[in-house]
């Protein structure tokens, strides 16, 4: 019997030989299917073939084109292979044919098939008479199984017809038949409760059955019939707890029902004794482990359980802790873990046994053991415990480590005096290998400890500083830098953090650099003594950024640094006021000298004319991804250039010939005319890719572009910095980018809206009213329309006073083609939050006024 474990490759071969189900040819099944028409029906062969169909059901492959279907249908009807669609009904007919077989095994497969196919009412008729006949058969196995099948497919009408048989079956001498009827009753109670409730006399009788499982099923059904009758349940429990319950499963049920009665009876009697506690306690001496455990668990979950009540339960659980069976150890330590949350003292007696479980080969048990100990441990045992955990941590998966980190966090909050060793532990594991979720759990814990334990602040902040020196997760670095900006300036010596923060400005990707600059600014704003030093650093980091740009891309020199420069300047004007948090790459929304210079320096784009507008960057990747990409839309009269700003965040990779493959099938009026790829794209050096589209002049075409980054990736040896010779072509899907109507509108303010409005020709005015439907609020509706139009709100009219029922917003802008546009928007909201809007547009060109209406009408 004991054959050696087969190696993978051999296994493959075996599969083809032995499994008729996995790789079988349709023809072979048809060949096989002849057995159904054979007058000397080979039942066993049929049964095996049958299982292949069921097997496919399990795979979810019960498709109409399945060879198996066809095999059955053709076998049944004697027709040629049925082509085209085959109804499940036909399979069902085929199945019923097999009722003629006398073979029990095959009959049972038919039963199974009927259950799997869950036939419709029409189809049920075919099998009902056969099943009813089986239900009255002399063969017990037929009866039991026919009952289960019939009850599964029955409806209310049919059920009334067979009710008499079912009631008899419940008290049948044969336990298999009785159980089948009882279990079916449990299922039927959900759909036909009024019928099943009529069986309670028979069910009551079955509860007294000598057959163990009949008693179990009868008890479950009886309880469900009576579950809304508290008194009846209480009586049931009272009589059974005094009598004999044979099966361990029934005993477990009774324990659950007893707990329910205890809970609902509302606590202790006058004498302080809990009713039925003695019964639960006696179950702790039962011979079946499942009953002992059920009772122990029930006791630990009693409302307001006392230590005296707990003790015997804890004692048996403690014995289970040293069982040779992992399931038993797991169940026991999991229950003790829960007890430790409310009664840590009650569990301390088991601490030695639990400690030995730290080395349990089952890591779930080991983790439960650790977290239990962390809950029950006292101040003096913390250090010893931490030593044990340190060894354990390297052996378990991240998901378990997170549980441990969380337990350590609560332990530290419980014993603040022990913060030193716990904080050390956290900082040590922070330095080790680990995934994002795990590292985040540690960082979160340190942050919470810093916030809650003042003494832990300085050391905690330094641990975090050390961590970001070598942190691969942009999200965590920025979170920590942000936190440093809040907590750092409040410490006794803020200057010691500056070095760590300033280092980030040199060595990190754009997002982290931005966070670091922002944090430096916070230190500068909040700590007067540091202000001069910070200014120097901020100025210096501008020059550093310049040096970082690759010289082979001439336009870079003008673009990125300009954007960064704007930030510290604003900082200088208003130190100590509002903190800028924007990242450097997010450039200003208006057309920008830098963009203009940049684009005109590219020969392919020089013929596009004057740049009308450049949008704000739109992120095309999630934070923390391998490649960070955002896009800027540059709008020209008859062209749109998309500028993809990319950062490669993987040190081990050098990308070459990077292009963006743009699918403009959902932007019909655009056609791609030029693309400017990035020849070389090393780690952490921002680069740009451009794709230019032509569009009809004077048409404000809109549409959606789907983007895919395509490149050759080469591995970089980090020790030498050398890239491999050969690369692999790869692709990376980016988010979609949309060109919308607002892209064709420049936000240009006017100094006096009323004068400007009056000076425009009233004949070019276009007015219309729109219903905006129910909105969240008036303010939300106003800002949605302003965003849709992309215009400049004037005179502060974008702000809607609280509780206003109506509002007027004044907007101005310049539309593509340099057409001045003014808009008056009047909003009203009713009690059901329906918003109506009147839109009046004046412009130098009435076609443009119409175009604005179209934007709103289609938006």
């Amino acid at each position: 019997m004991a054959q050696p474990l087969i190696k993978k490759d051999d296994d493959r071969d075996d599969e083809a030989d032995y499994s008729p189900f996995l790789g079988i040819e349709k023809g072979a099944v048809l060949q096989e299917a002849r057995v159904f028409n054979d007058p000397q029906l080979d039942a066993r062969r049929c049964s095996q073939l049958y299982s292949s169909v069921l097997f496919r059901t399990d795979l979810g492959l019960f498709r109409v084109d399945s060879g198996y279907y066809q095999a059955f249908v053709s076998a049944e009807s004697g027709r040629n292979l049925y082509k085209g669609q085959i109804e499940a009904t036909e399979v069902f007919f085929a199945v019923t044919k097999l009722f003629q077989s006398r073979d029990i095994g095959l009959r049972r497969m038919v039963y199974l098939m009927i259950k799997e196919l869950s036939p419709s009412a029409d189809e049920v008729i075919i099998v009902t008479s056969s099943l009813m006949k089986d239900m009255n058969s002399k063969t017990d196995m037929y009866r039991a199984n026919a009952i289960r099948v019939l009850c599964r497919i029955t409806d209310g009408t049919l059920l009334t017809q067979i009710e008499r048989y079912l009631k008899q079956a419940i008290v049948d001498k044969n336990p298999v038949v009785a159980s089948a009827a009882l279990v079916s009753g449990i299922h039927l109670l959900q759909t036909n409760p009024e019928i099943v409730k009529r069986w309670s006399n028979e069910v009551q009788e079955a509860v007294q059955s000598r057959a163990a499982l009949v008693q179990f099923h009868a008890l479950a059904l009886l309880h469900q019939i009576r579950q809304n009758d508290r008194l009846a349940v209480s009586k049931l429990v009272t009589s059974l707890t005094r009598g004999t319950v044979r099966s361990p499963l029934a005993q477990c049920l009774l324990i659950r029902y007893t707990s329910q009665v205890i809970r609902e009876s509302g606590g202790n009697t006058q004498t302080g004794d809990r009713p039925f506690y003695d019964y639960l306690e006696s179950c702790l001496r039962h011979k079946a482990e499942m009953v002992i455990f059920e009772a122990a668990k029930a006791i630990t979950e009693l409302n307001g359980v006392t230590n005296r009540e707990l003790t015997p339960a804890i004692t048996v659980l403690q014995l289970f802790l040293s069982s040779s069976k992992p399931v038993l150890r797991f169940a026991a330590v999991r229950t003790l873990n829960k007890v430790a949350m409310t009664h840590p003292m009650a569990v301390t007696n088991c601490n030695i046994d639990i400690e030995s479980l730290i080395s349990d080969p089952n890591r779930s048990i080991a983790t439960l053991a650790i977290t239990t100990l962390l809950k029950t441990g006292n101040e003096s045992s913390v250090d010893r415990l931490m030593k044990q955990i340190t060894n354990f941590m390297s052996e378990i998966a991240d998901e378990f480590k997170i549980v441990v980190v969380e337990a350590i966090r609560s332990l530290c909050l419980k014993f603040p005096l022990k913060y030193r060793s716990l904080m050390n532990f956290l900082s040590n594991i922070l330095r080790e290998e680990g995934g994002f979720e795990y590292k985040k759990a540690i960082v979160d814990s340190i942050v919470i400890l810093i916030s809650d334990i003042p003494d832990a602040k300085e050391s905690g902040l330094l641990h975090l500083c050390e961590f970001i020196e070598d942190c691969e997760f942009t999200y965590l670095s920025t979170q920590i830098l942000h936190f440093l900006g809040i907590e750092g300036p409040k410490t006794s010596d803020p200057s010691k953090y500056i070095r760590y923060i300033y280092n980030r400005v040199h060595l990190e990707n754009a997002t982290v650099r931005a966070a670091a600059v922002s944090t430096l600014a916070k230190f500068g704003a909040l700590v007067d003594s540091l202000k001069p030093r910070i200014f120097v650093l901020l100025r210096r980091c501008l020059f550093d950024c310049d040096d970082e740009e690759p010289s082979e891309e001439p336009f870079d020199i003008n673009s990125v640094p300009k954007e960064i420069k704007s930030q510290p300047l604003a900082e200088k004007k208003a130190p100590g006021k509002k903190q800028p948090t924007g990242a450097p790459p997010s450039g200003p929304p208006s057309p920008d000298d830098a963009y203009e210079k940049l684009l005109s320096s590219i020969p392919e784009f020089s013929g596009f004319g004057k740049l009308f507008k450049s949008s704000a960057p739109v992120e095309l990747t999630e934070a923390e991804t391998e490649y960070a990409v955002n896009a800027v839309k540059h709008i020209f009269d008859s062209h749109v250039v998309i500028q993809y700003n990319c950062t490669n965040t993987i040190p081990e990779q050098l990308l070459e010939n990077v292009t963006v493959i743009v699918d403009a099938s959902e932007a019909e009026e655009f056609s791609e005319v030029a693309t400017k790829p990035l020849r070389s794209f090393p780690y952490d050096t921002p680069g740009q890719i451009f794709v230019a589209f032509e569009k009809p002049e004077g048409v404000t075409a809109v549409g959606k572009f789907s983007n895919m980054l395509r490149f050759i990736v080469k591995e970089v040896d980090l020790s030498t910095g050398e890239a491999e010779e050969d690369g692999v072509e790869d692709e990376y899907q980016l988010e979609d980018l949309e060109v919308v109507a607002a892209d064709y509108m420049l936000k240009v303010p006017v100094s006096n809206f009323r004068n400007a409005w009056e000076s425009m020709d009233p004949n070019g005015e276009r007015v219309d009213e729109y219903g905006l439907g129910p909105r969240e609020s008036l303010a939300e509706a106003v800002s949605a329309v302003i965003n849709l139009l992309g215009m400049q709100p004037c005179e502060g009219t974008e702000v809607v006073p609280n509780n206003s029922r109506s509002h007027t917003a004044l907007l101005s802008g310049v539309y593509i083609g340099n057409v001045k546009v003014l808009v008056r928007l009047s909003f009203g909201i009713d009690s059901s939050k329906e918003v109506a809007m009147k839109l009046a547009v004046r412009s130098e060109d009435e076609n443009i006024s119409d175009a604005i209406h179209e934007v709103v009408a289609s938006g």
Binding site: L5, D122, S179
Partner: protein, 177 residues
């Protein structure tokens, strides 16, 4: 806790995590891909454990899974997080031993696939709609293996063809509506 002990699924996978036979009794995994994802995650996380002498146990997505391996077959039984672990282990042991009896000790994937009908019947005799029917491996195996011919039971050809005729007429009517 007042509820009857219940089983959410029973899985029999091979040594690569592919299905040999599975049966779900709960709606927690409504689609086939949800079921496959669950099987994959359970298989991957238990693959390296040694569940050959004693049944092992783990938690997945708020479910308890008890499991045992033999040769190239992996047996799993899943229940809710509040279920009594030992009850689930008893169901697993019943399934495991019954399959052992039915395959006459040759418990491996090849033998299991060749006798898949027995395995499927075995599953059907252990749990019905999530409720435990029987956990004694001997009884389960006997119920499955009772292949004796039964003289009293066969239905006459007439009964079946009558039924088919009635049903076909019935179906045609409902199609014409």
């Amino acid at each position: 806790m007042e509820t009857c002990p219940s089983v959410k699924n029973i899985l029999l996978l091979d040594s690569e995590g592919k299905r040999v036979a599975v049966k779900y009794y709960s709606d927690d995994w409504p689609t086939n891909s949800a079921k496959e994802a669950f099987e994959k995650s359970v298989f991957t996380k238990t693959q390296k454990t040694n569940a050959r002498t004693e049944a092992e146990i783990a938690m997945f997505e708020n479910n308890i899974v008890v499991y045992k391996f033999v040769q190239d077959l992996h047996f799993f039984v899943t229940g809710g997080e509040d279920e009594n672990e030992l009850i689930l282990a008893t169901v697993l042991q019943g399934f495991f031993d019954a399959v052992g009896f039915l395959l006459r000790g040759n418990v491996d994937k090849k033998e299991a696939l060749e006798n898949l009908d027995l395995i499927l019947l075995c599953l059907d005799e252990i749990v019905d709609g999530g409720i435990i029917l029987e956990t004694d491996a001997n009884v389960i195996a006997q119920k499955v293996a009772s292949h004796s011919m039964d003289a009293g039971a066969p239905l006459s050809e007439q009964t079946i063809s009558q039924a088919l005729a009635t049903a076909r007429e019935h179906l045609a009517r409902s199609l014409l509506k």
